[in-house]
């Protein structure tokens, strides 16, 4: 310990010590001279001696590093062209990695700017074979009142649309428990926010908080807005305040209005959320861990509470149900199922880095040849190989640090652009935090090892002329860019496929009308009544060709249910629909065998073609029972064509249709098919719904919109991956161009002589390029192998990617080969137009 302390103290006073040692030695020599001994040391030796003496302290590596760095800096400054190229290549390679990590970091590690975000948890019902992200109001209150491990429980009730005054555009609203804003420590920009202490303004209308954006947009930032009475669904409400400009919200919700949860039934007439017993309901539940309590402890307590609930509501609580806690203070809640996607993205960006590094390694080797002279001089005057290797590797480290810095900057720019386009929450910042910086440093070091180690070794051993190293680097580049290109090809094709192949149903002319009957507490009989009236009225609109009912709106993400079953050893996702007989004609889904339902027919199911084939390959499914996902006793009466209604990009899912029963009526959505532009029908639909029941404010959408939303994200993914693929190919092409140009420059004389002796230019070209052919071929083989290996994983991430899409493979390989050929041919052609005489006189 004392020794370390002395070492550190020495380090801090290094310069003084060094000076003292020099003085001491001077004195020593002086004394020796007085004693009549000749000074046995020349000055140079004295310097070396001082260095040896200082070595005892173990800090000489710092001096060496500084020496090496300054030398490296001078070397790099001497060849600005190379240095700029290298930094640019690295900035791209490292930059994409930093960008990917930053995005991940922002979503998963960055905390919301709220009070004590680390103790926030999202609470969800889970069991080994069921899961839901919402819970009933009464169960939430039960957990809130009994959980000792939670200091607070908050609830939000997802976005509902309310009618403001008589505006044509509905407003999006969230109901939240009164402690929502105070618990998160959010300050209003005007007035006050919901507050458990005063949820009603003395005897006046219920409180409503408006969002900053809505205040700006809708009220022109009126400073006197607080106290204004507005009408929502024709119910008066008082605006009590405006949320801050930057509102960090749990689960990233950004409605126009925030309303107190205990007023749900006031605003949405007939809604029974607050009085329903049982466990399932529409509330998202969040909690704050009590001080010093771990999430695990809370989960244990919540489990025992769940078991108490089961005693009261045995039917509502699933077998082995528990409440799962997830960290709630982030923008995204890390779900295990996201891991595959992230791993794939990580692998792709690492491939880019690999291409960049292989590319740069080639450049360094070529530079090594140019520096033979310098290196051989240094060896001649006594530098050992180790020292030269260290020197060269320091150069690589310096380059990679500069590349990392440039990559950080590049990443910052890209993220700024991404955030602007992706409507990122305002509190998110693109400024790199310590994690991103640390990551940048690590990737920089890793890159330096990748591109600098082998060339430095080769050059220090003066073997840089060996072609094998260069061929390996070329092969690696080709392999990596081949993987990237094929993967991007597969993705682009998958998206194209989703967008341009027939999804198995017609959606362009269809409008969905969700009257939200169950939210308004309609009983089944009333619901059936309403739906019959509405359907009849809709049929009278000129241009409406078909009206039908369904439990799930095609192409939407709202209220989607799926069943995962194993059929003959394969896991299959089944979408169960409750529909009426007209559904198939509205959605243009052809009946392949058997018959359609009769209205409200019981114990009958219709299955999709794929489900029939999977469950009963080669058999006639009509009349069979126990179709996967159906209830016992249900008989298959018909088979319809596959329709990717709920997951347009996934050709693997299957559908199962039941006839909608009276009991489901309050949960049904009406679909109408129109002749002409569907948007044009929306106003007349609204007129009809208003006249039927003014309490209801149905959501009316075109399916086209849903289609656009669904396909946008995968379109973006495909675009980004293609971009990465082209970056990789560009880098690889650059590397090949440099390599061939370099080879040609090395063999100018040889080529000139051969041409002078009458060799055919084509032959010369062939022999010149032949040394690159096998690494390219090998790289292609390896690349194709890797892609084929990972395409299975990709299927899990992105539906619609086929395992063997020969077109993607062939096209990608074709593009790659064309680019390689161009890159090789350009410099080679110059070699053939050599002025023979000049080339021979060159040296």
């Amino acid at each position: 310990m004392g020794e370390l302390y002395r070492r550190l103290r020495y380090l801090l006073q290094r310069n003084r010590h060094s000076q003292e040692l020099a003085d001491e030695m001077d004195f020593h020599r002086e004394m020796a001279a007085r004693a009549g001994r000749p000074a046995s040391l020349s000055f140079g030796n004295a310097v070396r001696l001082r260095e040896q003496s200082r070595e005892a302290w173990g800090w000489t590596w710092i001096d060496r590093l500084i020496q090496d760095l300054s030398y490296a800096g001078r070397t790099l400054l001497r060849s600005p062209g190379f240095t700029m190229t290298a930094i640019l290549v690295l900035a791209v390679g490292i930059g994409v990695n930093i960008t990917a990590f930053s995005l991940f970091n922002m979503m998963v590690f960055q905390y919301l700017p709220v009070r004590d975000p680390a103790s926030l948890v999202r609470l969800q019902r889970r069991s080994p074979d069921a899961s839901t992200n919402t819970i009933s109001y009464s169960a939430m209150l039960f957990y809130r009142d009994h959980a000792r491990t939670l200091s607070a429980v908050m609830g939000t009730f997802g976005t509902s649309v309310l009618q403001l005054e008589s505006d044509p555009q509905p407003v999006s609203s969230n109901f939240a428990t009164e402690n929502y804003f105070t618990e998160l420590g959010i300050q209003p920009s005007l007035g006050r926010l919901l507050d458990p202490a005063q949820d009603r303004v003395n005897g006046s209308a219920p409180a409503v908080v408006i969002s900053y954006g809505f205040w700006q947009r809708h009220y022109g930032a009126d400073p006197n807005i607080v106290g204004k009475v507005i009408h929502l669904n024709q119910k008066p409400a008082t605006i009590i305040g405006v949320t801050p400009y930057i509102l960090p919200s749990l689960g990233n919700q950004h409605p126009d209005l925030w309303l107190p949860m205990n007023q749900i039934a006031y605003f949405i007439e007939g809604n029974t959320t607050l009085i329903d017993t049982g466990s399932s309901g529409p509330i998202e539940m969040w909690g704050r861990l009590a001080p010093g309590v771990s999430a695990k402890t809370a989960e244990q307590e919540l489990l025992s509470l769940t078991n108490q609930l089961r005693k009261v509501h045995p039917k509502d609580i699933w077998d082995n149900e528990y409440i799962r806690t997830d960290p709630g203070g982030h923008d995204q809640i890390m779900q295990p199922e996201m891991l595959a996607t992230m791993a794939m993205c990580g692998a792709l960006v690492l491939l880019i880095l690999a291409v960049a590094c292989a590319n740069l390694g080639g450049l360094l080797l070529a530079r090594g040849v140019a520096r033979e002279h310098e290196i051989s001089i240094r060896v001649a005057i006594g530098a050992n190989r180790k020292r030269i290797f260290r020197q060269l590797f320091t150069e690589s480290l310096l380059l990679s640090s500069l590349g990392s810095a440039a990559g950080l900057f590049l990443g910052y720019i890209v993220i700024r652009i991404t955030m602007a386009h992706a409507n990122a929450p305002l509190w998110m910042t693109a400024t790199p935090d310590w994690r991103v910086i640390a990551f940048a440093v690590a990737v920089g070091l890793f890159a330096a090892l990748l591109f600098g180690f082998a060339p430095a070794l080769q050059i220090a051993r003066q073997r840089q002329r060996k072609t094998i190293a260069r061929q390996m680097l070329l092969g690696a580049q080709v392999a990596a860019s081949c993987v990237l290109l094929i993967v991007s090809g597969l993705l682009v094709r998958a998206v194209q496929h989703a967008l341009h192949t027939n999804p198995g149903f017609g959606y362009e002319q269809v409008i969905s009308i969700d009257p939200g009957l169950s939210t308004h507490g309609y009983k089944p009989a009333d619901a059936r009544n309403y739906i019959e009236q509405l359907s009849n009225r809709l049929r009278t609109i000129p241009g409406v060709t078909s009206v039908s009912l369904t439990s799930m709106t095609p192409l939407s993400h709202f209220r989607v249910s799926t069943i995962s079953n194993t059929i003959n050893g394969h896991l299959v996702r089944i979408f169960p629909f409750q529909v009426d007989p007209e559904f198939f004609s509205t959605m243009e889904i052809p009946l392949l065998r058997g018959r359609n339902f009769t209205p409200r027919e019981e114990h009958a199911v219709i299955i999709s073609d794929t489900l029939a084939r999977k469950q009963w390959p080669g058999e006639d499914p009509i009349g069979k029972q126990d179709a996967s996902g159906s209830a016992p006793g249900d008989v298959v009466v018909g088979v319809v064509a596959n329709a990717r209604l709920m997951d347009i990009q996934n050709g693997d899912t299957v559908e199962l249709y039941h006839a909608a029963q009276e009991a489901n009526m309050a949960d049904l959505v009406i679909l109408i098919k129109t002749a002409g532009v569907p948007e044009g029908f929306i106003p007349s639909v609204r007129t009809i719904t208003r006249s039927l029941d003014p309490k209801l404010f149905p959501e009316v959408n075109t399916l086209k919109e849903g289609f656009r939303d669904t396909t946008r994200s995968s379109g973006n993914i495909a675009m980004v991956v293609s971009l990465l693929g082209f970056v990789a190919v560009f880098l690889a092409a650059l590397g090949i161009l440099g390599l061939v140009a370099y080879t040609v420059s090395q063999r100018t004389k040889d080529i000139a002589i051969r041409i002078a002796l009458g060799a055919k230019p084509l032959h010369v070209l062939a022999s010149l390029l032949s040394q690159f052919s096998w690494p390219v071929a090998l790289g292609l083989v390896v690349g194709i192998g890797i892609t084929a290996g990972v395409s299975h994983t990709m299927r899990g991430v992105l539906y619609g990617v086929s395992n063997l899409d020969p077109f993607s493979y062939i096209a990608s390989i074709g593009i790659l080969l064309a680019i390689i050929a161009c890159a090789a041919f350009l410099p080679a052609r110059r070699a053939l137009r050599l002025d023979v005489a000049r080339a021979l006189h060159q040296d």
Binding site: E3, M25, H28, M31, A32, L41, A56
Partner: protein, 116 residues
Amino acid sequence: MSMMPKIDTPKPGMPSGALAMLILRVLQSGSLHGYAIAQRIHLLSSEVLEVEEGSLYPALQKLLLKGWATADWGISETNRKVRFYNLTPAGRKQLETELQEYDRVTQAIQSVLRTA
């Protein structure tokens, strides 16, 4: 150049740290500066051992690092500012162990030489 054997970097066969031990021993009787240490060893060895700067100063640095000696500024006999080295308690202890070790090894070697 003299024909004297020189203590330079420890050669194989020579007990390592011999020079450090010699320095510690001459510092036992009081503080000395670097040149004086070399002189003292030279004299005490009946002018057989000559300590070069090349090995003296690295050895002194090691002593400082290990905490066996400290260096303080003083005025030399020629009126120059120079560093004087002092033994620390840890240095005395080190010298003792080294001497014991040295005795043990030399006795062992001698007994082998006598009996073999």
